[in-house]
């Protein structure tokens, strides 16, 4: 990032992310339908980028972000179903780490 956000800027960053989602949604009304998944993938990358300044980086999230960046750079067509399946699985690994690290209080997490 070229702009180093000050500590109070988290709200601004989130507001910009909301603006990006709305602007993407509006643009997609007149753009090719195939741009839809690409905009959502980029939204995921932008969201994950917001986690970094807090040191909340999780290796799985980092992998997802890096793979999205690599896909932006690729000049050959991307196999989106495969990429997205893999990215979703990677996110699940990242989130699973949180569940196993915390005590389980949710009733749905009780053994059957």
């Amino acid at each position: 990032m070229t702009a180093t956000p000050d500590p109070a800027s988290r709200d601004t960053e989130l507001a910009r992310l909301a603006a990006y989602l709305l602007a993407s949604s509006r643009s997609l009304l007149t753009e090719p339908a195939s741009y839809g998944p690409i905009r959502l993938i980029d939204a995921a990358r932008r969201t994950l980028a917001l986690l970094e300044p807090d040191g909340a980086a999780n290796p799985h999230y980092n992998t997802v972000k890096t793979r999205i960046e690599d896909s932006h750079r690729s000049k050959t067509p991307i196999d989106l179903p495969t990429l997205l399946d893999e990215l979703c699985l990677q996110m699940a690994h990242g989130l699973k780490g949180i569940h196993t690290a915390q005590p389980q209080t949710d009733e749905h997490s009780e053994p059957a």
């Binding site: 070229t2 602007a23 750079r73 000049k75």
Partner: protein, 198 residues
């Protein structure tokens, strides 16, 4: 087959003094034209004032219909403003240190102009200026990417732009985070014919 193989005479674009078979490229201009490709990721390094001057000088040297120059450009380098503009430009993928807003200036026309014809030309002129800007960036070792996917109205508001300016393209520019990677092009024989389409 090349143009030269098809034609006994050199292509009309060749300099008259060029010996047959030679391909002069003073200053490496042709190499710059051939090797540009879009750069969407940038290092955090800012673009110097001298480079910005070189970019905008090359930009406004572009051809323009009737020399009308019905264009206006906003160079954004202030990081917070740039990030807010980028939020309304889904086509801008990376976080560049510089964002150019290339506009068609509708105030440059007179009432007598054939508005339809002249105004259509104006957008072409803006595109030519943008290409000059991107080629100049490449020549300076910078990278750039045009974006047509953006919402003009929020950007107009963020930049205090008057109604007669119509944003046509945004261009991100900066120091490339990776070397340019040429994209595939259709075979030249498929897209270029000589003297007739047959």
């Amino acid at each position: 087959m090349t143009a030269r193989a098809r034609n006994a005479t050199p292509p009309s674009g060749s300099p008259p003094h060029a010996p047959p078979g030679s391909s002069p490229d003073p200053g490496g201009a042709l190499r710059v034209l051939r090797t540009r490709s879009v750069i969407r990721e940038f290092t955090g390094e800012p673009i110097t004032d001298a480079d910005v001057d070189a970019l905008v000088t090359a930009m406004v040297a572009a051809p323009t219909g009737s020399n009308r120059q019905a264009w206006a450009f906003i160079v954004i380098r202030e990081p917070q403003r740039l990030l807010s503009v980028r939020a309304f430009a889904p086509g801008v993928i990376g976080t560049p240190p510089l964002l150019l807003v290339a506009c068609h200036d509708h105030s440059r026309y007179t009432d007598e102009d054939d508005a339809r014809v002249v105004r259509e030309l104006g957008r072409l002129c803006v595109a030519m200026a943008v290409e000059n800007f991107m080629l100049a960036a490449h020549a300076l070792g910078l990278g750039a990417c045009p974006a047509s996917s953006f919402l003009p109205e929020p950007i107009r508001l963020l930049l205090d732009m008057p109604a007669h300016l119509e944003p046509v393209l945004l261009v991100s520019a900066g120091h490339p985070a990776h070397p340019p990677q040429p994209s595939e092009r259709r075979d030249i024989d498929e897209v270029v014919r000589y003297d007739s389409y047959a």
